[in-house]
Symmetry: C2
Subunit: 567 residues, 2 copies
């Protein structure tokens, strides 16, 4: 009778301890965001579908959570479906009335194989076919449809299909009844077609979708509020995003992103400051990191040198395996991806790129000297590295990594990625510069740059490195046991004073009327690891157990306050 409580796959409940740990990370990030001049904005959890769809590629569109229209959304579906049926059958009728010629094989094949209903409809309208073909198609699809129907009444179904396929009389059915059966078959065909209309249907039953990242809503915000903001506009945003991804360890369907971005300036000083910001936050968290740096222009320069910009991803993917498979392995993989020996020869310095960041820059400068864009990329990167080194970092190291290519189609300048030095977990942060984020919303050529922090991975790193110790758990410092009703009011009055002194406290609400119930209250206090347990108040003297020391003390109010405040 009772429902089994559970939550959707890929989502999580957070206990008080988990909330406290997460809040600690949020606060640490937020503090530096604000010290660096970023200001918070928030955007709605769901956006109009048109704002999100088509911004993250085909895979992204698929992973966006769509919200069903509220109210009578089927009104709209049925209108669409009816219109679709009407158009389709009208088309069929008008065609087979006028045309005699028809490539049945091709039509049937298209009909079955096509995943694109518009192509399918186009084929139908272009095809010349007879009534006989229609019947065959209908049969074919009726059979397809019927095969997915659940098994009950299977014999009856087979009988109907047999009747229908052979156009034989079904036991004792009249002409009208025959027609209804044919109707059923046509129906099944329509439904079958309908499946390929999903995209069209989407737009009619869903007009809103859950936020997929914070970047597109930010772009939308900037354009929508262009008259309220000053450029350069520095904003941060820490909100959940949702993705219908296959859940697995460390990958959730609801997770937080923490982003800081600036739009409205191309100054490389911002790149410098973002590196400092990464360093500041990860130093505060106590995580030793390496900030990998690259520049999209360097990658473009490499593409220019190897003469194949379409092979850039294959190239960087192969190069990234240098540590694992060695120079010969990398070259072999590149050749298999049809990157020429000549091209590989030209970028050979990349295989032995080593030394300090300055030394790597020197080698890149020589290698990319023939590419204007590549040379610009090296010069940009040099500016960043030199300034960052001059200003000094607290704990992070910076490292030039020309295989770094995240968001290749998106970033146009600097590319950043951060990894924890002492935990193998992939990137815990990333970002870069993009030149035209807001163009889609009508504000062209507004350059921006931003970085993101991966909350969940940072959480895992802090857990693994035992760095949550300093987090204060949001639990009461003092618990008043409740052994007799006469003491309750004294407890409540004391608690009022403790709270005025910012001391978290609570009273066990039920009065113990037996030894067993008193023990239950002690157990409650111990299980919750409450530091000070007040078990009696007599003549303004508090009997207090300090669970850290195990010592029981008799305190007056001032001593109790002092103990709780100093612990």
């Amino acid at each position: 009778m009772a429902q089994k409580p559970g939550i959707p796959r890929g989502t999580r409940d957070f206990s008080p301890t988990e909330v406290a740990k997460r809040t600690y990370i949020f606060n640490t990030i937020q503090r530096s965001f604000e010290l660096y001049g970023f200001q918070p904005i928030e955007t709605p959890s769901f956006e109009n579908s048109s704002t999100l769809m088509g911004k993250y590629g085909e895979e992204g569109d698929r992973l966006i959570f769509k919200i069903l229209n509220s109210g009578d959304y089927l009104k709209k579906i049925t209108d669409v479906v009816i219109k679709f049926y009407y158009d389709y059958f009208f088309l069929v009728i008008s065609n087979f009335v006028d045309q005699k010629d028809f490539d049945k094989e091709k039509f049937l094949n298209d009909f079955k194989e096509s995943k694109n209903s518009d192509l399918l409809l186009k084929n139908i309208s272009n095809s010349k076919f007879s009534g006989e073909n229609i019947k065959n198609i209908v049969d074919e699809n009726f059979f397809n449809a019927a095969s997915v129907v659940q098994k009950r009444n299977k014999e009856k179904l087979i009988e109907i299909i047999k009747y229908h396929r052979g156009f034989e009389k079904f036991n004792g059915l009249s002409e009208n009844e025959n027609q209804i059966l044919v109707g059923f078959a046509v129906d099944a065909t329509g439904i079958w077609l309908l499946r390929y209309r999903q995209q069209k249907l989407d737009k009619n039953i869903s007009e809103k979708a859950l936020r997929y990242d914070l970047t597109v809503p930010f772009a939308r915000y900037v354009v929508q509020h262009r008259n309220e903001i000053e450029l350069p506009f520095k904003r941060y945003q820490m909100q959940p995003v949702w993705r219908a991804d296959k859940p697995q360890r460390g990958r959730y369907r609801e997770f937080y992103q923490c982003d800081a971005d600036v739009v409205g300036s191309t100054s490389l000083l911002q790149e410098v400051e973002f590196v400092q910001l990464y360093d500041a936050i990860f130093s505060d968290l106590g995580i030793a990191t390496t900030i990998k740096l690259n520049n999209r222009k360097i990658l473009s320069g490499i593409a220019e040198i190897i003469g194949a910009s379409d092979k850039l991803i294959d190239f960087t993917v192969a190069l990234d395996k240098l540590d694992k498979i060695g120079e010969q392995g990398v070259i072999k993989e590149m050749l298999s991806k049809e990157i020429s020996e000549e091209a590989i020869e030209k970028v050979k310095p990349l295989f032995t790129l080593s030394g300090t960041n300055q030394e790597k820059l020197e080698q890149l400068k020589v290698m990319l000297s023939e590419s204007d864009e590549g040379t610009q990329g090296v010069s940009d990167l040099q500016f960043i590295v030199e300034n960052v080194e001059e200003l000094g970092l607290q704990s992070a190291e910076i490292s030039i990594d020309v295989t770094l290519a995240r968001g290749l189609n998106y970033y146009t300048g600097a590319i950043f990625e951060v990894a924890a030095n002492d935990v193998e977990l992939g990137s815990i942060g990333g970002g870069g510069r993009y030149d035209d984020l807001t163009g889609i919303f009508g504000w062209k050529d507004l350059s921006g740059i931003g970085i993101s922090f991966g909350l969940d991975r940072i959480y895992l790193v802090l857990e693994e490195l035992d760095l949550f110790e300093k987090v204060t758990l949001p639990k009461p410092k003092v618990l008043f046991l409740n052994f007799d009703e006469q003491t309750q009011l004294a407890s409540l009055k004391t608690m009022k004073i403790l709270r005025d002194h910012n001391i978290k406290c609570e009273l066990y609400p039920d009065t113990a009327n037996s030894n067993k119930k008193e023990k239950k209250q002690w157990k409650y206090a111990f299980n919750r690891e409450i530091e000070f347990i007040v078990s009696a108040i007599e003549n303004k003297i508090y009997t207090v157990k300090n669970t850290n020391t195990g010592v029981q003390e008799r305190y007056n109010l001032e001593e109790l306050l002092k103990a709780a405040q100093n612990s």
Copy 2:
């Protein structure tokens, strides 16, 4: 070409200033929640539909935002639709083959008027009808469906309908073609039926829904994590909820709730503490409030006295109008709701209930003396009032209000509601005790009590009373203008020191290379209302404009630090 940026109706973007003001409210509430021993939990934004549906009444179900299944959700629809069609037509066929008798008029009427598909299907299966009836039904509904098809090809459509209705030959169509037309009609019928299957369909294309409140997810959490929590369990939760309500001023489709609840104890001390908690938070916010108190048991007692528990809502609604329409008006309304004169006579003391809370309690005690439950309610309320008065409140007043009936079907004991004294805006908080929140998830008879804060209304009250003054806006304290490249590094180095001293600062990223661009930077600083503007650094002396005083100073680093820290 470009998309017009916009957000869904009933949702909001929040600017940095709005975020800061909202954060101030959250922090104030959270601080007291924790001082009172409540601990934070968070639950996912979406829950399984089965967790939410049916918990908020029919209206609530309608207002829940449903999330479309990801992936090929139509696969499931089509299977369901096919199964439905199959079931339906199989039913029809088996019926008209076996049965001769049929009430056509009634069936057609049900078919058209019923909004309940299950009833409809039941009627179909109970009815005895012939093939001819089926044809008529199909015709009828084909015509209905066709009438919603868009107007193009109207003549052709009329011709088809005419043909079909009369079973005459359509120009030059073969027997196969006739059958296809009948199929179209059957199809339309099926679609028409489908519209009344929305609820059934919902379950197949949507299995998740956005959180509608924080109480049901809390109940689910308690049962799901029963082995991890200690009773009594005191939790707070501040998260957004979503409702597909018609948006209007102060009513949004996405809004935050801030709830504190305890489950696992029936002690009335908790009621006392919740009144204190309301007082603490609204005092901190500077809002003078009245906390209205009632008890469900008093309402039940009244119902017992008037001898009509089904009229309790009519009764309290009428009584609530006492101030507006006077005693005679209230009596008139009660009589119109069929509450007897005799009953009204018995509860007449309610019309003149006045004086202090203690005096009101005395009057209620006498009036409800014949009802055990009512007497218990008065005694409970008395306990709360006496203890609250003994402990004292900072700024709130408490007031017994027997017309208070919020969540009548939900609360079983205390009922609270808070209104701001100086702003007309309805309630800014409410809550009460419930006896069996977790029963639906399998944990019976777990008593709980909770209160909620209405963030958006509190925001409006603070705005109207000009109480946001003390909120620190999250903007930089110091801005470094950027008039020449030589100074940039000195600016960045100074900013590093300022940030180490927790001073928010930023550098204008682009170097001005003209008078005009310098003015633009000054304008940027003024528009953002930055307090200290550094326009030059020479020999470690900073030229600083204090925009509060209008004075330009020459500071060394220490003086700059001191100025920014003390402001």
